[in-house]
Amino acid sequence: MTTQTETSHAASPSVDPDEVAKFSKLSAEWWDPHGKMAPLHKINPLRLAFIRDAVCRKFDRSARSLNCLSGLRMLDIGCGAGLLCEPFARLGAQVIGVDPSESNIAAAKLHAERSHLSIDYRCTTLEQMDARERFDIVLAMEVVEHVTDVGAFLDRCAAIMKPSGLMVVSTLNRTWKSFALAIVGAEYVLRWLPRGTHQWEKFVTPEELTRHLERNKLGITEQAGVVYSPFADRWSTSSDMDVNYMVVAESLE
């Protein structure tokens, strides 16, 4: 592989065979659509299409083109093993994936290498990144509900985005319904997620998100709820933003 990714703190996957085996196993877990990450795989096509359509509208591209993101610099914050990074790299974007977990980054690198994709994975956090870097697209998918200070985090996201750029944020709303579905349902009843994955108090309402974005002169231009239909075993977008939702933010000027 190229050395463009070697600035990160993560271990190179070719160092220690035991480490490689460990990361390989982790990578396989992340990428197994029927494994632990099954809910994420199910929801992924929906997220990919939502982001792609928003980007194509903003940058005047055709969403039917196989190269619709070419030349666009995209940052995926909390990229995990690259479930979003890889598809967007295939669509031509120059993708930078950051994640604080060294093992996630190693797993992501391993998978991208085997998929013959060039993605710049870095084991770092948004705060540690070079403040002069700029991106056309900033993704914070299912991240804000895990950060300690949502306002400060979104300020950083806004600062790292080009003025002509686009931000997509997805998270869980703080409603009684999200408590019932995301905590009780997903963690306790259906066991989709390990217990303790989410803390309901940290969920973010669209109003809070709007306030933080407005402070940075960004407005929400698109929004969609993400709902699950148990009978069809399908996720779809909806106007119901009570549980899981996504928003597109861009400069109001």
Binding site: M1, P33, H34, H41, K42, N44, P45, L48, A49, R52, A63, R64, S65, L66, C68, L69, E86, P87, F88, A89, R90, L91, E113, R114, S115, H116
Partner: protein
Amino acid sequence: MNDTSADLTLYDVAVVGGGPVGLATAVALAQAEIRVALIASRKPYPDNRTTALLSGSVDFLQRIGVWERCEDKATALRTMRLVDDTRRLIRAPEVRFNSEEIGLDTFGYNIENRELLIALEARAAECPTLTRIDDDAEAIDVTELNVTIRTRQGGVVAARLVVGADGRQSICRDAAGIEVKRRELDQAAMTFNVTHARPHHNVSTEFHTPNGPCVFVPLPGNRSSVVWVASPAEAKRLMALSDEQLSDAAERAMHSILGRVSVGPGRHVFPLAIEQPRQFAKNRIVLAGEAAHVLPPIGAQGLNLGLRDASDIADLVIDTMTRGEDPGNPLALAQFDSRRRNDIASRTMAIDLANRSLLSDFLPMQAARATGLHLLNAIRPLRRIAMREGLAPTWRRLS
């Protein structure tokens, strides 16, 4: 890198099989700029079978730029006539379906498969992202991230998704580990083309005989194609007849409705069977055409179903790839499987039932069939439903 496939060209999709379904799939994908390898040695269509392309198939061929190349070789089908010639105690009345009744100009168009293939080949040659590999697939190896195909002449092709349009003895289906349910029917279909003294007026006529259906479908001019289903012994006898004797036999079978008949060169016989694979997609391989379904030639469903495979597969691959996803990923494969399952299973069941009721000597079955056709004849809304269902399944139009 220690991945040996790195120095190979990795295609998005490899289509195995150069029949109408394989070619149509490859063209539909290449039209969306997907990099497709079509693996099939070029050869002319081996027999003189024809296909009644129903309106959905014509729409699809139009979308992929093929219809304009073969439209002039096709004959419109405006009336379908079913005649009960079972000579049984309880006989069904003659039923005529007119395309105008459901607000259509035609039910479809009859075309020689050979002409359709020429048009598809010409269109395929125009597609810049379609690579034609003029060789046959010999061995297929599925790995986690792609599929490699070795050809007879030693070539190797890798792709993320394989479309197995390689017929009844599909090696793609074997490589995917998909089992097939097979039921041999004690029937054979004989095909040939005829010229006749009187014009057909765009009417296709299906005589239901105790052996199975005998169908005359219009071709350009005073010509028709014939599919004659009979017992294997009877088919063998017909195959052995001289042209003159077969002409007489065909004229008798159609009760001389088109006057004097004379058979053209070339006749073929096919043993009939119903085959259904247990899955339609698995392990980066999706099945299309006769690899996915083998049906008796009743109601013009076979190749029309195959073209729906092609159209559905292309739509799903395009949806998956325009999201940047790997077209052979397990969730996409599960989607292919469920999408094709309803359509193929319902068609297979309907045709199987129709065929069984024709063959049955069991009185209630004959009565039910006769009643069914009586009702179809008498009740206009029911006729329209039957006609529409024949052209495209309800769930497809609703979605």
